[in-house]
Amino acid sequence: MSAVPVARGEDGRVLAPFGRRRALVVSTRKVGAYVLLELADRDGPQADPGQFHMLATVQGWGAGVDERPFLPRAFSPMGSSGGHLWFMLEDVGPGTHRLSALKKGEALWVTGPLGAGFTLPDASNAGEAPSGGASPAFTGARRAILVAGGIGLPPIVAWSRALAEGAGAEVTLLLGFRDAAHAQVAASFTGAQLATDDGSAGHRGYVTELLEAELARDPHALVYACGPGPMLEAVRALTTALGIPAQLALESGMACGYGACFGCAVPLAAGGYARVCVDGPVMEAAALAAVPAH
């Protein structure tokens, strides 16, 4: 069990302990193009699927190219239980470069869980706590199609596990990667459909093509997606055009993760902007004007 009891806010999200806390690296493992990072976070509560944490190393943050990274980085865990957190990283910039070099026993600053996670659209859940985390009662007969693109895999994994533990959930998992080296991390998801950009594993093309085919067969499905901006924009456009409910776990550059900096703006269909960190990161696709590329 987690060392810290879960407290929920008025809107149902799991609240973060105030401030940043120390966590320790338990293990790191390289799988293809990604690094899997396990942390002992004994002072943090269990997160809901789709929530995220701000991470920075205690040592050597700022010691990279151009004296970066400076700000903490946002990551959604693929697992959160028993006071442990599991993250997936790809070394693509100064922040992920430093985090990818972590060794067992090193310390991190962690703030979280932050933001709003995935929820079931079923009206019987309205007003109640988001049903992620433990075992959601999947009362609807509608199939859930979960779509992950590359580094967007972690919250989709967390949500698929939560749905599978709930009663009556029929889940279809669609996974897209750049190539076979990136797809290696998906080897354990035996029932998943796979697509790669270069065709080196699974369907050759985008994962959104798999989604389009699934929705053509089953227009009553629910869609949950996480991945790069252009992929989520494609999912938003597709599901909105078809009138299919979809929740998107958004990513954005952000300085703080708790609504202070207003840096993570995403344009709303109704006009104006929302903050990915506090209004999201999981948002209804129909509420968005577009998903920014960055």
Binding site: R13, R20, L71, P72, Y258, A260, G263, Y273, C277
Partner: protein, 299 residues
Amino acid sequence: MSVSFCGLELAHPVINGSGTFDVIAAERAFGPALLADLPFSAYVSKTITLRPRAGNPPPRLWETAAGMVNSIGLPNKGVEAYLAEDLPRYAKLPVPLITNVMGATGAELAEVAAAVADRPEIAAIELNVSCPNVATGLDIGAVPSELEAVVRRVRAVTAKPLVVKLTPNTADVALCAQAAEAAGADAVSLINTLRAVALHPDAGGARWLGAGQGGLSGPAIRSVALAQVAAVAERVSVPVVGMGGLQRGAHAADLLSAGATLIAVGTESFRDPGAGKRVARELAELTGRATHPGAPRHP
């Protein structure tokens, strides 16, 4: 470590920079216990304007060496909704509220200030004078004569303590501070962000930020802040709120040595939500240990 500032008695000298800590959003993330245990001895709310603003198109952030460039564009719900929706929540804070206001002209700034002037929940008003003058392109606060005229207009509509948040993007910040003082400001605060640009990493020379340019903050500007706070404190007799890139109690002590009465934590709160509390604790340890390293030169 309690301190007097414009008639307010504060528990310690550490407050927040406007627009760097949103207590309403923080309550959503951390829960209501945060409000009773706020990291700051006074709370400065994010800039409000007469009418609502959506803010700038993204991207709005760029990370630099020891800092960041932001181009947020002052999104806010406008003064009417601020008074109706936010003020009742700020009124529950255990510390005094300083309301930050901005306008594109002196008349607009005076109108916003007048709208908040008679609200007892508001302890003081801070003027953001970093809005560009449409005619000259310069910030209103960058030209001493223009700044003086603007502050006079606001002074005429409120008896509340008036803090002028100076812009660092000017030839002589001390002259601007003197102009604000001459016009009736009760305090000045500085430094705001330094004008900055970031280029798109993959698009030869194109601007990265949605609005084209922004402002630099973080430890990269700490030495500039120290220089400007010292220059201003030497030339005015009103209290000075010092800020700019401070991360630790020692940096706060430096600003107090340079003449600041209060110091504000900004960007460091993004990295560490509890930075204000940590800085106040470190500052108290430093001042308790040494003779008077942090004693203001202008009490």
